[in-house]
């Protein structure tokens, strides 16, 4: 069957099971957009290409499927770079298709030519330029395979215009058969050793990360933690994989982690880290990090192991696979341990929890940002999909919204991209039209991709935006307060638009709460509204996120808020 490149493109996407594409057209993509016009693939027209990538990323994080982006050459392609780098650092599977000038013009500085393969080389898992139409279908399938396999990540495929117009013989791939899940692999010698370490340990801790969410190993993690009675702490990227309502839960560790998670890490005698990469935001000073512990590290990516923290037992394996064989081993060995056996350890943890709980100073006068999130958590029973922007809003969301399930907390962990939350919420909502999706935002970040509100309105994507409006670039202001003697250089954001009017101008609902007693009603009204909403909460301007570890400091040395000092 002879087909044009643009037709093959659509067929290959459909073979990959793709129903939705986030994109923005342009000259070199006209052939593809013409085919899209005829096809039943849903195309969501964003308002900026960065928004398309974050939306595909949010879609992928919520659904576990590969997100797809389609943008034009030159500026369309370069606009995706932040989004791609963001997905790269958080290992999110997306495929970005960029248009390119015709092959004969490549390298001539043609109109709207950019070397996007060169530009994105260090921030993609892999990238391709398709130079011949007969390579097109195979390259597309390979791109999807690379994006989702092993440690996932973004893949870019550059499509010159003449390749889209050329024709070739097209044979669809034979449909893939679902492979049955193999039985757990027999435990390796290393697993047996880890088993013994757990049996001997008096103060064990499990530290988990985004790898558990990406590897869909949440159930296996719960089994292991509950059988071994190991307390669990999880990085920002792994929140929800272990339920916050479980008594074994310690909260998040690190710079803005809970006091008790950091104390547990500092004092544990066995640390089993699974699917995390020991980011400096988690470990603080490496010299004092979990110094007393024997360390086990499981990750699919060998380059993550012994990169920052040197471990005693490195295990390069898929998290789910590792946990399955491990659980089987525990079952076969009839491993049992009771809460009573770990009494001493749990007593220590209880005492840390009692001494320094996660808390804030409530107020009747001004809205506390933490209070907004707590109320949001109560009203939604912890069941909303939460995306965040970056800064204080992100940390408070991680601290005060209690996640019981994976894929519910969607946040830019590695790159820390302001402007991520709104488009990511749109993507998550596209994946789950019937779930409640809320973007917890700061007044600075929300202005970075506010244009995507038009996308939400156009496609009736009913995302709710909660702006914690402190009139500052709050997190930077916090550092200036704590480390630069309150010299607030360029962090005042008082000159912001009226967010209620912004919502209205885009044709949707805007709400505002000025006082604490209005907060719950505003949230209720906003959450019940059937369309997209912006809720503007005028919060305490100079609130800080606590606890806080000084950058480069030891994680057990935390600066606490007044209210935390019992």
């Amino acid at each position: 069957m002879k087909l044009k490149g643009a037709e093959i493109f659509i067929r290959a996407l459909k073979q990959e099971g793709i129903q939705t594409v986030f994109g923005y057209p342009g000259g070199v993509l006209l052939d593809i957009y013409d085919e899209l016009y005829r096809s039943d693939i849903t195309h969501i027209l964003v308002r900026h290409e960065q928004g398309a990538v974050h939306a595909a990323d949010g879609y992928a994080r919520a659904s576990g499927k590969v997100g797809v982006v389609l943008v034009t050459s030159g500026p369309g392609a370069t606009n995706t770079v932040t989004g791609i780098a963001n997905a790269y650092l958080d290992s999110i599977p997306i495929v970005v298709f960029t248009g390119q000038v015709p092959t004969a013009l490549i390298g001539t500085d043609a109109f709207q030519e950019a070397d996007i393969v060169g530009i994105t080389r260090p921030c993609t898992k892999h990238n391709f330029q398709v130079r011949r139409v007969d390579e097109l279908a195979r390259t597309i399938h390979e791109a999807f395979h690379i994006a989702r396999s092993g440690r996932p990540g973004p893949v870019l495929v550059d499509l010159p215009k003449d390749v889209m117009q050329a024709t070739t013989d097209y044979e669809p791939l034979p449909p893939k058969e679902e492979e049955p899940i193999p039985p757990p692999k027999p435990a390796s010698g290393k697993a047996l050793y880890v088993h013994d370490l757990i049996a001997e340990s008096r103060r064990p801790v499990l530290l988990t990360g985004g790898g558990i969410v990406l590897g869909r190993a949440s159930e296996e993690l719960r089994q292991m933690a509950r059988r071994t009675k190991m307390p669990v702490t999880s990085t920002l990227m792994g929140l929800g994989a272990f339920p916050a309502s479980d008594p074994l839960w310690l909260g998040m560790p690190g710079m803005h982690g809970t006091y008790y998670a950091n104390m547990a890490l500092t004092n544990c005698d066995l640390l089993i880290a699974i699917g995390c990469r020991f980011d400096d935001r988690v470990t603080g000073s490496l010299e004092t990090f979990a110094r007393k512990a024997k360390k086990v590290h499981v990750d699919v990516d060998a380059s993550s192991i012994n990169k920052n923290v040197m471990v005693d037992v490195p295990i390069v394996q898929d998290c789910k696979e590792a946990l399955r064989s491990f659980n089987k081993l525990l079952a076969d060995q009839n491993f049992t341990v009771s809460y009573e056996d770990r009494r001493e350890w749990f007593d220590m943890i209880e005492e840390w929890k009692r001494n320094v709980p996660l808390s804030y100073c409530p107020s009747d006068e001004v809205i506390k940002p933490q209070f907004v999130i707590e109320t949001l958590c109560n009203l939604t029973k912890g069941k909303a999909i939460i995306t965040t922007e970056v800064g204080q809003n992100q940390m408070w969301a991680a601290q005060f919204y209690k996640f019981d399930e994976p894929n519910m907390f969607i946040s830019s962990g590695g790159l820390g991209t302001m402007g991520f939350g709104l488009p990511a919420a749109i993507g998550a909502q596209v994946a789950f039209p019937d779930k409640l999706v809320v973007d917890i935002a700061g007044d600075g970040s929300i202005q970075m991709n506010i244009q995507e509100l038009a996308t939400a309105v156009q496609y009736r994507i009913p995302v709710k935006v909660v702006v914690l409006n402190n009139g500052y670039l709050g997190m930077v202001r916090q550092w200036q307060e704590l480390f630069y003697e309150k010299r607030y250089s360029q962090t005042d954001m008082t000159y912001a638009p009226d967010f209620v009017k912004v919502a209205e101008a885009y044709g949707t609902l805007g709400l505002r709460a000025m006082k604490p007693d209005e907060a719950a009603a505003t949230l209720r009204k906003g959450l019940e509204h059937p369309g997209p909403v912006i809720m503007d909460f005028r919060v305490a301007r100079e609130e800080c996120v606590y606890p806080m570890v000084r950058p480069g400091g030891s994680i057990q040395e935390m600066t606490l808020g007044r209210e935390m000092i019992n």
Partner: protein, 163 residues
């Protein structure tokens, strides 16, 4: 011990495609590692190239570099070649101006390093010298006082003694 820097030779099997060398170089350069020598050509299988490169670093950096290189889709294998298990050679072409005075000395040096004269043009000649990196460097030192016009070095090529 671990922290001691020395020259490490890595041998990579990679896809023989445009862009692959840039990916390899970027993986090192992006992390602040300098590639000291580099040698690339196709293997018996024209779809696969062998890259041999040397980096002056400590062992823990080399381990990280190996793991990062293995993350590249186009890289099939990375192995570190050690001096005891490998034959290592480098070739140099060096152009000299010949005079009545230096002729005899140059001939002696060529002899010492088992080099040869590849071409002669009037009073200019190009000499080829092959040996270990240290040999080549010693040859340069000996030739320098005699007036080197220009030179080109291949960088290290290396092959395991046995499979």
């Amino acid at each position: 011990m671990e922290k001691q820097k020395k020259e490490h030779i890595l041998s990579l099997l990679v896809n023989n495609k445009p862009d692959v060398l840039a990916r390899v170089a970027g993986t090192l350069g992006g992390r602040g590692y300098n590639i000291d020598t580099l040698c690339v050509d196709a293997t018996l299988d024209p779809k696969i190239s062998k890259i041999i490169l040397s980096v002056y670093q400590d062992q823990s950096a080399i381990t990280k570099i190996e793991k990062q290189l293995l993350r590249l889709i186009d890289v099939h294998s990375v192995s570190e070649l050690t001096e005891t298990e490998t034959v290592m050679r480098e070739m140099m072409l060096v152009r000299m101006k010949l005079t009545e005075k230096n002729k005899a000395d140059i001939a002696l040096i060529i002899d010492t390093f088992r080099g040869r004269v590849v071409t002669m043009n009037g009073d200019s000649c190009v000499i080829e010298i092959t040996g270990t990196k240290a040999d080549v460097e010693r040859a340069i030192e000996s030739l320098k006082p005699l007036g080197i016009d220009d030179l080109a070095r291949t960088g290290i090529v290396a092959l395991e003694r046995i499979k």
